[in-house]
């Protein structure tokens, strides 16, 4: 092997505390090194050109660059050596900036350390092998999970670009949280007026197949070739026949049920269409509310249905589809605010959540757009908003800022004065977080034009006195306790990942955090990708977001999906596990531990052997560390390559 070594000065970033020349000089004497030099900026265009020229001039078969972190520029230099005609894996990096020059002040030890890191890289490179990505065909169809605004956007963008899209929504209608909102900030335009047309587009698009009231049963396969089983939950209504006329709802005798869409304000019939603009506009029977299913004689809906769509015998149905990429857009749920005993833990009717307030404000909501106290139906004159409920509260395990509550609270304070001109709103806040176009101005308007009284401090207790609620808080700017008698208290409850997110993440094999949010591939550079190839994220399932941000992410995830499926064949990362068939004794330990089910048992002339599904293998190397005889090796990180690095340090 002929190795070339390039030691980067990185201007003075490295050269100030590492004797770069000496490192290069020493590297020149290392095994199989035929050329070693230093470079001012190895990653600059002349720097890369110099590497390319050296490869050709000295007929190098491998290159070591000692510069910054491989997490920074490994990809850059791999492309460089590839341009020079080498396989991109015939390249190693020694990190002498982040791990040497930036963390040590003395040139002496720094230089020794740099030399050793270069030696380790050289020793590893000597064992590197050319790796060639495998090509695999891809299904040009995308699955979008979740029909909120992010999922709708992703579906429409993909479909517009010519991709087949399957959209799965667990609720009877798409629309998500946005469909429950009355107005949107900071423009105060009507939520359903701007979302409605998009929902209709989904329903009418020839390339979008919508499975509403459905869930993901299982996911198998890998990027380009996922196989997904969808469970269509029994609606007990034949949707092909249902016209959405609503006669059944009118006639249903079981009317006093929990109204999910209206967040428990008002009540719903056992057979229901959640809201007038629902897509699809089809009825669903909730078995737990239906008299027929409770063993009572009923069947009134069936009797009145003009199309004979009611079917109490309907069963869940499983549908299997093939897709090439998956966008998860499962949104969020409100955190459990009933843990707050000091706010009544749900015991006081006039303490409600912000989402309930949205339904109250909505003209299509249970109160017809009138603000009323749930306890007695009176119009409240004094409304207290408490922000940061289940947000920024480590004591209940919700340390993060939910991000959108400051803005929707300002909107709700504005709407309150709009609905009830002689009302007074009080907003208890800790900080106002309003970094968005027109956002801060909006919170000012709430105060200046709509007279909302903002009080800087948390609320310690809410309790009833007479038919009022006493709210005891602090005004920390004033340095005093404050008390206000409220008719209605609205809690700006923060969000958390959808309660079903963890289960879905397990099926998709993507990571999630303790709050139920999916983990993106990189917090800055891969915000809509995951570490499972072919699975992308959009909207609040990755972390809480407002509408414009969710829509942007929907488009971003669509762009990623389109880029992935723009080719007929996909390349897979060749840094995967490889089985040495001769050495494998078929003990199956690797199969047991593989987190991705990327290894299976295969029969080789009557003997059982491990077989790696290269497209599924993510290259973690757990199997490699598990196999006692080392018959399964992770390419580019084989035992011998790691041992070479260890020995480079310990043995001359």
């Amino acid at each position: 092997m002929k190795i070339g070594v390039f030691i980067c000065h990185c201007g003075s970033n490295i050269a100030a505390t590492v004797d770069v020349k000496k490192v290069a000089e020493t590297a020149g004497r290392m095994a199989e090194v035929v050329y070693a030099t230093d470079a001012m900026y190895a990653c600059s265009e002349p720097g890369q050109q110099a590497i390319e020229e050296a490869v050709k001039k000295y007929a190098l078969s491998g290159v070591v660059v000692a510069s910054c972190s491989p997490r920074m520029h490994e990809a850059t230099f791999r492309r460089t050596v590839e341009r020079a005609g080498l396989n991109r894996y015939m390249f190693e990096m020694a990190n002498i900036r982040e791990h040497v020059s930036w963390i040590g002040r003395d040139q002496g030890p720094n230089t020794v350390k740099a030399i050793e890191l270069v030696r380790m890289a050289v020793e590893k490179l000597r064992l590197n092998r050319a790796l060639i990505p495998r090509k695999l065909p891809a299904t040009r169809r995308a699955l979008v999970i979740g029909g909120g605004v992010a999922g709708i956007q992703a579906s429409l963008d993909c479909a517009e670009a010519g991709l087949e899209v399957v959209l799965v929504e667990r609720e009877p209608s798409i629309g998500g949280k946005m469909s429950k909102l009355d107005k949107t900030f900071p423009t105060v335009d009507c939520s359903s007026c701007i979302l409605g047309p998009r929902m209709v587009d989904v329903a009418q698009h020839e390339r979008i197949t919508l499975y509403a009231y459905s869930e993901i049963e299982s996911v198998s396969g890998y990027v380009g070739n996922f196989e997904v089983v969808i469970r269509k939950k029994a609606a007990y209504v034949d949707w092909d026949k249902c016209t959405g006329c609503g006669l059944c709802i009118e006639k249903c005798p079981s009317k006093k049920n929990f109204d999910r869409f209206n967040e428990g304000l008002g009540s719903a019939a056992a057979i229901n269409i959640p809201f007038p603009q629902a897509i699809p506009k089809k009825a669903v029977i909730r078995a737990e509310d239906c008299r027929q299913f409770q063993g009572k004689k009923c069947g009134i809906c069936a009797k009145f249905c003009p199309t004979g769509a009611i079917n109490h015998e309907q069963q869940d149905e499983l549908v299997t589809i093939q897709v090439g990429a998956i966008v998860a857009a499962t949104g969020y749920d409100l955190a459990d605010w009933t843990v707050y005993g000091e706010y009544g833990a749900g015991r006081y009717a006039d303490v409600i959540t912000s989402l309930q307030y949205e339904r109250m404000l909505s003209a299509s909501g249970p109160f017809g757009g009138h603000i009323k106290r749930p306890s007695n139906g009176e119009e409240p004159k004094s409304v207290v908003f408490i922000q940061c409920v289940a947000s920024r509260d480590p004591s209940i395990g919700r340390p993060y800022c939910s991000g959108f509550c400051c803005m929707y609270t300002a909107k709700q304070a504005i709407m309150t004065r709009d609905h009830i001109p002689d009302s007074q709103s009080y907003v208890f806040y800790m900080d106002i977080r309003s970094p968005g176009k027109g956002y801060d101005e909006f919170t000012r308007r709430a105060q200046e034009e709509y007279g909302a009284q903002y009080v800087r401090g948390r609320v310690s207790q809410v309790y009833p006195r007479g038919n009022k609620l006493v709210v005891r808080g602090a005004d920390t700017l004033l340095g005093s306790q404050v008390e206000v008698e409220a008719d209605l208290v609205v809690l700006a409850v923060g969000g958390e990942g959808s309660r079903e997110a963890a289960g879905l993440a397990e099926k998709l094999r993507i990571s999630y955090d303790s709050f139920g949010f999916f983990l993106e591939g990189h917090p800055k550079l891969k915000p809509v990708e995951t570490n499972t190839a072919g699975v992308f994220l959009a909207g609040s399932c990755q972390g809480l977001k407002d509408i414009p941000f969710s829509v942007s992410q929907g488009s971003a995830a669509a762009a990623k999906t389109l880029a992935l499926l723009s080719r007929d064949m996909l390349e897979s990362d060749p840094q995967t596990a490889q089985v040495d068939i001769k050495r494998c004794i078929g003990c199956g330990k690797c199969i047991q531990v593989c987190p991705f089910q990327a290894i299976r048992e295969a029969d080789l002339r009557g003997q059982s052997k491990a077989e790696v599904l290269e497209a599924v293998c993510q290259g973690c190397g757990l199997c490699n560390a598990t196999c006692p005889q080392g018959a399964i090796q992770l390419s580019h990180f084989t035992d011998n390559q790691v041992l070479a690095e260890v020995e480079a340090l310990l043995c001359p």
Partner: protein
């Protein structure tokens, strides 16, 4: 209040409060929940959250000479509702210990009552309410407060005239003695 020189805060004081209370004061983000729920706030010169802020800035003298640290009733509202799980009441306790050790007056009557109470325990092993009241009244010169209660209490036979003296009162007195002796050696809480 004097203007505060930010760079001149007493960091030893911050550290001492943290070690003796076992709490991390930098966790306080000034939401004001402690203040909001504090039943004694109306008697304070600084609200609880301001005391926390003063500690964060190392304002030792202001904190230790404040009325607030003496008027806290240890009701635990602040600790219970602190979103950051800070045992605020314990921090106030610790400040009171420091205030006493450093010889700040604090709320005189509160301090005198505590002294009288402990004196009673020291003498008898148990607290003797009537004797305690007498001592407190002498110390505080508030001879006629609560006199209206006496008839009720006497009528209901709730105030034994003679203190109950336990057998182990020497042992209890020993605890106080060793405490007084060792006071220079330890900080009252965790070392």
């Amino acid at each position: 209040m004097e203007h505060v020189q930010l760079g001149r805060g007493d960091t030893d004081f911050i550290r001492a409060v943290e070690t003796e209370s076992g709490q991390k004061v930098s966790r306080c983000y000034q939401c004001g929940n402690c203040t909001a729920g504090c039943p004694m706030s109306f008697t304070y010169d600084f609200t609880v959250s301001r005391i926390m802020r003063l500690i964060q800035l190392g304002q030792k003298n202001t904190v230790l000479s404040s009325k607030a640290v003496w008027m806290c009733a240890s009701c635990e509202s602040c600790s219970t509702r602190c979103p950051n799980h800070i045992e605020v009441a314990r921090i106030l306790d610790v400040c009171r210990h420091m205030s006493r050790r450093a010889g700040f007056g604090g709320a005189r009557n509160v301090r005198l009552f505590a002294d009288a109470f402990l004196q009673s325990v020291r003498w008898h092993g148990q607290s003797h309410e009537l004797g305690l009241m007498a001592v407190y009244k002498l110390l505080s010169m508030r001879l006629f407060d609560d006199l209206t209660l006496a008839p009720d209490m006497l009528l209901k036979n709730k105030l034994p005239f003679k203190p109950h003296r336990i057998k182990g009162r020497d042992e209890v007195a020993g605890i106080f003695r060793r405490y007084a002796q060792g006071r220079g050696l330890h900080g009252g809480g965790k070392k």
